[in-house]
Symmetry: D2
Subunit: 445 residues, 4 copies
């Protein structure tokens, strides 16, 4: 595996993301991405290893000749916002376990592209000597939250309505999300109760990754209280999950469909595009069509590619739980979506908001498959699919995608990080789709 | 009313605790309390006016010639701990509404005495000119949380048992309490879920003062979840309230009795004393007696007086919700009690802990009485009491206190801050005590 | 006298510029100048009272509803640069004694105009209550030196030549000037030795105001060493004074003429204007004429007025020691001029640089005159002047100015701050000008 | 060469003291020296690589499980003072060129001993993995200058007299020395003019190491001005050099003799000891004898060894330019000596102070000698010495030391860092001593 995965450099702090590596990556970023004119913004989430790794990456940046502006403990969107005209490095492992940490690079507010990451990885491998002593960079500090909150406010105000009277329970999970989402939601008018809003890198309250399983306290809270909405972030608040007042997680694809519709309704962009990924469900296409937009699918993890291709036409680019708002900037921003959904509920009520979204039954599962077998198995499956689903349309652009007449679909793709194949399926008769796929794959593997 | 009330200088920030007043108080503290050798520790809770008032009081201190160490946003116990060998000023209105703020003075870790406050008040009235320009003080900064948490750990370890397996819900109410109580409880082994742990001076989640009425979200949370204990602080975490897993507030006097007993059981002080106030119930005396201690009552708000009189013999000094631990230091510390009670429940279970405490029925009420009438009415009541309760013993040391044969008692005292008389009564037949008192007072007024 | 003099609010810290006043001015600035969108930049020079007064003015700003960005110890030009798109408050008494301090307001990088100051003064007099508790401002921090130094570099590079090989002695006088002028001069290529570069508000080394009398150590240093130039700033580095290698102060008007010429030579502005004041000598006009520019005189202390009137045509606006560079921004900037003059010497040598400047003999003196007598005496003098100097041209725009055929001139004006009349005269026969003026005035008074 | 030389880890920042190494050393210090109870104090001088390396060593400390208190830019004595009860790491290359940097370890205020350094070096070689993620340390910050200055004041007050009226020129050489020596000298009453007091890691004004050659600007300044004393520090102010008003460097051994005498005169220690090194001249012994003390010599660089052996009896331990004051703490402190010498001159005048010191003519020179030849040449010289100087006493404890009847002496020792032999000689007829030694050595080599 290369240095950079789908979410930057990431791994356990004892064996992979050590201070040594952070120094080398900082140095490489300085060498490859920073010009003398630029100041690199650096920040971190609240992980126990963050204080050390932030210093290490800063040391590398300075020794590589970059100048650095230290933002301290922030959310990833806040860091990206601060790097909207430059380069940024965020020390976070996002939704990973507390013993992991990572480095995420931003250029002009966007996650670094594969080619930029490759250049940095090459420089890390080279391990160049520090620059001459009189060219080491200097560091400064700044606080940016106020300006970011103003940007969030400007961006979200055209959508939905003032949330006065709405009561939201925000589960920050001892991540950094409360520092932006709590004031942003309050600025939108909502009353906010925060669960574990104190930053604590031990993640003592729940795992960083917000899922139905890890959000049981929030769900209990919602059932016990009289809240209109539950919202949860991961440790660095790029991700966002919504829960209904009954404690049930609102399906991530439904959220995408709702936000996409609302943004399409208020946009002034002609022929607007929504970018999403192959694992995102058909209901998004339906909603986007209804709102007068066009859906474009890009490979999982490549929202930036979609933005690059469709430029100013894109009003929203998202994969499940991760929403990028081009009208705000080129980064994934959980706080922006938290405010948007809250304002939409304030305007329409949750039921009315979800009603138009057509939720076909959905399944998602994984099948063990050694890495070496992935390619031949996928090829064999491609050969068998037409026979398996004679009535369906098959596309091979991003994995193998099968489209059914009833608006249902299925997708099979090899995992990028684990020895598994993933099956996603959505259909009025989802079991009738999943079962033959599973059997075929197990036989082929 | 003088400048200082029972809890320092306090009031609305628009009309009373303005930056002007904070400058003058800072200056007066420098003039009266600070020697050139001393550095005055300053800190604040999270109120919206705190950033300004902290700067104002610091400006006054410096202009008065004191040197200042700035601790930023802290709890009151943390500030007091930092001033354990010197002088401290805490910018907090504790449990007051968000539009109030205040200044609390500490000398050698103890709240300033009346005479020290009088000296400061006199200097404020005088409004002296700043000291000569070359004697203005200098400022430094420090972080103290780590050393404080270590002190809490050392102090609490001998009591109760490791809390591994215990689950606590801590309601910080967007005050500063989570910054010390959450890690301290975790250090004691407990699992902690925090409600509103992010600091927010708007107190958007609940009022700063933790009462049954303001803790409804916590109570709902406790009923919904599977917690062993609920704990709540006010905005600056000197106060502490405990809730049972069913969401009911544990009576503040019962908490006092429990903590007092436990400290007496582990102390090595010969002939140990527990200091409390007249409004604290008989159940404390009973528990203290049983644990081999002696109860001493001082006027409400004068725990320091009790400490001064009984010196090293005091193992615990408390009024309802406010616990001072001489073994830790001379300040009221909600975090220390939070850990102690948690460790006691870990050792014995909540039911076993509360079982020995004898809770007689208790009533507390107020009767309107103009300030000018307070003194004659109290005198008249004193004259009538022997006739009203012929079998009781009457003492006049702190208000009028009546002791009954069944271990019951009643206390009548004029309020120090409102045009009211207060009646407290605890008895197996409490209505039979309160009714004649009320009738008599209403007649006399 | 009003609250604001010619250089903001200024005075002794014990009797005038107390923390109380600073709180009130901060509050008034928030009320009158700050909009909710703006962040007010605040900074201070190194005076012993600066730490307190900076906090006090910040407290007032926050209580008045403004948000604040704290820059710490900076030069006045650095503060003005940071407020180039907003509002700034600098805590400095510039060249005053160490027991004084002051507050200087900047709007859009320019010193606040009289009308803005009047609005603030009116708000100070009103002493409004703080804004509602939930509208008090918030504070952040930032470091700005790097970006400022880059701006200086960009601005100065077109003038003169790289100063490699030049050796400069910079006397910072324990003011803040070394923090920008030392690196800026080094960036220009010069070798720099700094006298009293450590910031110390006691001004133990010399008075803040750089004059021939206070710069004796620097002069001795220049005579002893092998320096090409001496440069001195006042405590906040808006002022600048230059000394020749022999330790002699280069006349402030000559410096103006040199800088004006160089800026005119490199400007691309058509019909460029140089703004100066009536007390600045004729040699400026001569140099400006020769370089193809036009000189405009405004009242002393009113450079901003000249900028307002002549807008984009102004390439330089200066009174003795105080240089405003419109190409950099609307503030007086001693560091910019320090670099410009150094680069000019690098290009041409000091002798060649000064040679074209025609230094007629110059005199400046004061005559005691009670404030009440100023107006009638000036009127009487105006009546007598035509008789006194029959061949001269007389103008009454800014005081009484007499122009002679030999390019000489004289100016009489009442002091704005002291009970004196000032006489300035420059002429080949300067005594023949000053003597009759003095006699006449003494008679009239 | 091992990791640690005579002054910690030191070398060029591009090839040796890189951020990678700093991370590893920080980690090793945490592993070997820090206990969970301890907070490691870290600081740096002003070198351009200091910001990066401080962060790198802090990252290593945290990843190794230590907690860290960051002091920022300080002098080495200030860092050592802050670590007087714990462990400290100073990022400095002291008097080395600007392209070098280094790490100096302190334990209980003393430079780490050889065995502690060996333990750290072993841990660096091992390169252990970071500790478990939940045991990484936390960081805090503090400012310590005020308390240090008070300690200096208390320590120096018993010696000499108030320096009111004395004028001192302090050459900080853009190191950090002005931050403590300037205020300490002023607190002692002296007027202070500072040369290059602004911190600048480029060392643009002079090399960090203060020698007659690098102090020419200071010498010129002294000759030009009317100063009573010149004082110079290296970049981190452990070293100190004194210059007479005529610009001449006062011999470093004379300074030792003067300070030793004065400390002996005021001590209350019975049978007091002065520790010094073999290269320090006879005049020290003479002065110590006269003042009632006893001189003990230890190997160069091993003052700590002398302290360990003679414990509480030591009143002063010094090698040329580096003075350790046991009454203040176990570190080398240039500021303390700066104040002491100034107070002595205030009391007695420079001439009277130096008069008793018997300065025999002194020579110090080096002879090239390959490392491999050092040992045989020294052995051969030892064999020939009795013949060369028949009347002298010869000792072999630290190199070869020859003592003459006229109080003169000579020392030959191999350099620890260069391929050279060093000859030191002091005698009324110094050439008659040096010449035969040189000839013999050149022949033997």
């Amino acid at each position: 595996m290369g240095l950079f995965g789908t979410a930057g450099v990431r791994g356990p702090v004892r064996s992979r993301l050590t201070p040594d590596l952070a120094v080398r990556v900082g140095h490489a970023v300085a060498a490859e991405l920073a010009s003398p004119e630029l100041v690199v913004a650096v920040g971190r989430d609240g992980r126990t290893s963050g204080a050390a790794l932030l210093r290490a990456v800063t040391a590398g940046l300075l020794a590589g000749g970059a100048s650095v502006c230290e933002l301290g403990v922030v959310t990833t969107p806040l860091l990206a916002y601060s790097a909207r005209d430059g380069v940024g490095v965020m020390v976070t492992a996002s939704h990973n376990p507390p013993g992991d940490n990572g480095l995420k690079l931003f250029i002009a507010g966007r996650e670094a592209s594969g080619s930029a990451e490759a250049a940095v990885a090459a420089a890390v491998a080279e391990a160049p000597a520090p620059v001459r002593w009189d060219r080491w960079g200097s560091s400064s500090a700044a606080t940016v939250r106020r300006s970011y909150l103003r940007a969030i406010d400007r961006y979200t105000t055209p959508v939905g309505a003032d949330a006065r009277g709405l009561s939201v329970c925000l589960d920050a999970g001892t991540g950094t999300g409360a520092m932006t989402s709590a004031p942003a939601l309050r600025a939108a008018g909502a009353e906010v109760v925060v669960l574990n809003g104190q930053v604590d890198g031990h993640f003592p309250a729940r795992a960083s990754k917000p899922t139905a399983a890890t959000l049981q306290t929030l769900a209990a809270m919602l059932r016990a209280g009289s809240f209109d909405l539950g919202i949860a972030h991961d440790g660095d608040a790029d991700r966002v999950v919504f829960l209904a007042p009954d404690g049930e997680v609102i399906h991530e694809d439904t959220v995408l469909a709702v936000v996409a519709s609302a943004l399409l309704e208020t946009t002034e962009i002609p022929d607007p595009v929504v970018v999403t990924t192959p694992n995102a469900s058909r209901r998004i296409d339906t909603a986007v069509d209804a709102a007068g937009g066009r859906t474009v699918r890009v490979a999982l993890g490549d929202l930036q590619g979609g933005l690059a291709t469709h430029g100013d036409a894109v009003v929203f680019a998202a994969e499940p739980w991760k929403h990028l708002h081009p009208g705000l900037g080129g980064w994934i921003d959980g706080t922006a979506s938290a405010v948007l959904v809250t304002r939409l509920i304030a305007e329409r009520g949750l039921d009315a908001l979800l009603a138009p979204i057509d939720e076909l039954p959905y399944r998602k599962l994984s099948i063990d498959c050694p890495d070496a077998r992935k390619r031949p198995v996928m090829a064999a499956l491609a050969a068998e699919l037409p026979e398996l689903f004679p009535a369906a349309t098959i596309s091979t652009e991003h994995g193998l995608r099968v489209e059914f007449a009833d608006d249902g679909w299925a997708l099979v793709r090899p995992s990028g990080t684990e020895p598994k194949l993933r099956i996603y399926a959505e259909s009025a008769t989802v079991e009738a789709v999943v079962e033959p796929l599973t059997e075929t794959l197990e036989r082929l593997i």
